[in-house]
Subunit: 365 residues, 2 copies
Amino acid sequence: MVQDGGADAPRPVTIYDVARAAGVAPSTVSRAFSRPGRVKAGTAERIREIAVSLGYRTSPLARAVPGAPTRMIALVVADIANPVFAAIVRGAQEAAGERGYVLLLADAQEDDRQERAAIERSLPSVDGVVLAGSRMSDSAIRMMSKQKPVVVLNRSIPDVPCVMPDYARGLRRAAEHLGELGHERITYVAGPAASWADGMRWRSLRAAAAELHLAARRIGPFPPDVDGGVLAAATFAAQPTSAVIAYNDQLAIGVVRGLLGMGVRVPGDVSVVGFDNILAAELVTPGLTTVAAPLHTEGAEAIRHLLAMVEGAPTHTGQPFVLPTRLVVRGSTGPSSHPPGGPGRGSRTARGNSWQLLVRSRSAE
Amino acid sequence: MVQDGGADAPRPVTIYDVARAAGVAPSTVSRAFSRPGRVKAGTAERIREIAVSLGYRTSPLARAVPGAPTRMIALVVADIANPVFAAIVRGAQEAAGERGYVLLLADAQEDDRQERAAIERSLPSVDGVVLAGSRMSDSAIRMMSKQKPVVVLNRSIPDVPCVMPDYARGLRRAAEHLGELGHERITYVAGPAASWADGMRWRSLRAAAAELHLAARRIGPFPPDVDGGVLAAATFAAQPTSAVIAYNDQLAIGVVRGLLGMGVRVPGDVSVVGFDNILAAELVTPGLTTVAAPLHTEGAEAIRHLLAMVEGAPTHTGQPFVLPTRLVVRGSTGPSSHPPGGPGRGSRTARGNSWQLLVRSRSAE
DNA sequence: GTGAAAGCGCTAACAC
DNA sequence: GTGTTAGCGCTTTCAC
């Protein structure tokens, strides 16, 4: 029976083959690769040449057996299909590649159990782990970080190094923006209940709103996708405000769609703000005003911190490492229609707040 | 100096520790895990319990040293930030996870050299490789497939197993759709010149057009993103047709934007069709008519084929494995405005084809 | 500087 | 069924 899975396995060239061909001891070959300098320049050179001519490839696996690092990093993302995580993966991949590390990707599919399973499987082979949008409990993560270096993204856990965007300032900027446009009451459309980021965003918004003398309330949780947003729009319409900030862009886009579908104008009647600044935010009509998180940088920064730890730096576990956010203003936000003051643009405010009645009668059908 | 990178490395529990605690030989412990059934039920049970109580974790690395499989698969994508690949990764990850395999992700960043480097690094540690959107040459890939099982996605290479969507039928359906709407001339907006898929799509379209007695021409190449599409719109406008099919959705969305920006109506004046059916295709206004590729299934199917090969099936290298596509009709396509017949919807055809003049004068500014 | 020997944790032959 | 022995490819003592 022909074992044909990938040709006839031409047994890979080992360190011994090279040693024999070069007329030196295997240990010398090993040194020539791992600790050049501890071997005479000429010898090293010769070994190298013979090695390439023989097609020798050092085996990362065997190298790692004696407890040495594997130069692999596990990156666990909550949902690889989510563009936010795709961008983070990209950043991480770049940073890891630059330093000669390889990324082992695990997709938790928004599921705590799958996440654990994936980590279980990959943990032994990696030098460290980056958790992006983990759904695991703080204690589980803290436990894990006792065994291998761990960096957590978009979340803050005491005693575990974290990288996250500046939620506080981001939401603050969004609230200010809405305040400047004359909005006085803001509804926060919540994402997954299990999401640490969701809690954080809401608390940040509430704090900012208080400082700015705005009212803020929360509805949800909703699934963090477009359909979830459409759903949210229905709930929202029962008790509307003139401004909405959503957990993320997908949700915000869904809210806009839902509202437009009910005949509510955006931003005429309701202004909507998202979070993340995904590609689609720019493409929808109206363009979505949103808080942009530095996704790519986050991924890269997480890897950088992790590698520092892996390579022996003291675990920098003080304050979370916070990355700047910025508000991207597009068409989904505009002047409030209530206030007498405000720079309302004529026609936009024409219907005042009467759409609430319209919605009510519609949803009562 | 305190080595603090990840706590005080509590030396992992080995198979020997378990053996000692259980009062059996190490090989028995090994068997209890790898080949249960060859060990007495009671013993196996006891060993398992002791193992978990001791917190024993089998080390995939050491296991792989003697030439055994690593249960890792490398997935090389052209661009992880591209939603198309994100969906493929998702499908692959699921299929791999189900079978107990772990995915090693490498992002080629649309660059042939980086791709090679990434493969170089990960090849020794994996049981096989899936290439998604590879920019490498056919011969390089064929070479590689001599060393390790390889499956190629979205591309057909003689003697290498391939998985790809049914480009021919997909483009054929798109052409039919446009034909039915009365369009007679179609412009294909090309993507990256190095992309095999681009060539394939264009050839498929040309063939379909010929059969359907439609005229088809190609412009490009353009970068396969929204900006590239805007660019393409400018080129296109110099010599417009009433219908456009773009290499992918991002490009198509860009074309629509570009046209709208010039005052050209979509689909009133020009109908636009994309390829892939990414999330944003549904969100833009007008919604993008597009050929949906079964991205998720592609990823999963590639892994399935690869694992079959890895586990010893004869390399199935006859015809590429083709997955069905389907046409998703949305708002970006509508009746042609030229033909006298056709079910043109009044107002939409009012301006006839006069916009060409409009565009000319604008772009002449 | 370089060689010889002793493992890393695990599995695969052999024995018993 | 289970214990014993011999490695996998590489690194790392310890000699010389």
